[in-house]
Symmetry: C2
Subunit: 241 residues, 2 copies
């Protein structure tokens, strides 16, 4: 079905496109096929419309991606009222993490983002506000936000973990015997050349039966480590001037 056909089929009944529809479709497309699949041309085809039609609702590609981020970030849940600042920050960050697990493309999108929208600023402000209401000086709040880094958005920097699988990828076929043998050799070579990385992997495997690093545990552990550090600095009468 060409865009013209699709348009003709719905010309009488369908209301004109609007920004929310475009962004919602973009998010759904990214969820399904990954961020790389979200091109102006692919997205427009999905909406039964010519590529240039999108430019009425979105300034350009950058604005489209910003809008997708906003749509998700706007859904972060605020914490219950009356919580201790540590717990309030914890809940905000874990809520961000929930959204991220639903939308795996969000990590890449945020890392590549170049604009600071009001919604995004609002999230940062809310988080800074929790610290400030807890009595931390703005100097310490500043340092705390930097130390949290991308955990603010619900993910830790992926310097150590392997890259996540993308939805577009097909599952790898089961290894043949010679491939399995080659893999064993690889692991042995790894252990020889990178003994500490190998030791960490072994230790981690021994700790969790699944063999993989427990990402959720790791995230919460590091988050709590940071919160404790801020608390300690705060308790040490870290002063603002």
């Amino acid at each position: 079905m060409t865009p013209a056909d699709a348009r003709a089929a719905t010309a009488r009944t369908a209301p004109p496109l609007n920004r929310t529809q475009v962004l919602t479709a973009a998010v759904a497309l990214a969820d399904r096929e990954g961020l790389a699949a979200v091109s102006m041309r692919h997205l427009s085809a999905e909406l039964g419309v010519v590529p240039m039609a999108l430019y009425k609702h979105v300034a350009d590609k950058d604005d489209l991606v910003s809008g997708m981020i906003d749509l998700v970030v706007a859904g972060y849940r605020p914490p219950e009222a009356g919580l201790d600042w540590r717990e309030a920050v914890r809940q905000r960050v874990l809520s961000a993490r929930d959204a991220l697990l639903e939308h795996p493309w969000l990590r890449t999108a945020i890392e590549a983002a170049t604009r600071r929208t009001p919604i995004v600023l609002g999230h940062m402000d809310a988080l800074a506000g929790e610290f400030a209401r807890g009595g931390l000086s703005y100097d310490l709040v500043h340092h705390a936000m930097h130390a949290l880094g991308h955990r603010i958005w619900g993910f830790s920097p992926e310097a150590f973990a392997s890259p996540p699988p993308r939805p577009g990828d097909t599952a790898p076929p089961p290894p043949t015997d010679v491939e399995a043998e080659a893999q064993r050799a690889m692991v042995a070579a790894m252990a020889q050349h990178f003994p500490h990385v190998a030791a960490i992997a072994l230790d981690s495997a021994a700790r969790s039966p699944s063999g993989a690093c427990d990402e959720q545990f790791e995230f919460e552990f590091t988050l709590d480590l940071l919160l404790e550090s801020f608390d300690r600095l705060h308790a040490a009468h870290w002063s603002s001037s």
Copy 2:
């Protein structure tokens, strides 16, 4: 000058291209015009060669970028021998940071990278090795690496800072009077809608005369905060099993 002309001009004297030349030229191009300018076509034109010629020295675009990262990471300086583990980690991370300041595109490249090369694994292993030689359990080393996150590569996650200027961008023209007025209004609106972000900016400006956040100080402060946390967990007899 077309690629053919360039080739003809040097056909007798120039030796054939090799991988190192391709990667070095790619790094220089990225330093000069930003990572976005490093396309197979642009790079090949710069080398006086047809795009497909690069594929003899590089598997594909991903391999090209991996090679660029390797070239820089291979230049990270190892710390002096006999240092305390905390100081050794500190020096490795600060050396990574030096390289990053020379190559601003490195942050984006590492964040987008999908392959784990031996050179990159080697850096992670060296860092994990410093912790391990300090007597930390591999479980704690694992957590420490996660907490360091992208600081391993010399940058902190840019969740709070504004995106860095790209070499390709032209400097903005000086603001006219009405623009300056509009900017003042923006700042006032910021302070109203995002009071905590504004307070942090004000506090930071009061602290450093330049008005901007002192990135280097911030980086080292957070790095030291993390190192202290690991040390404390270590001293608390954090056990491995």
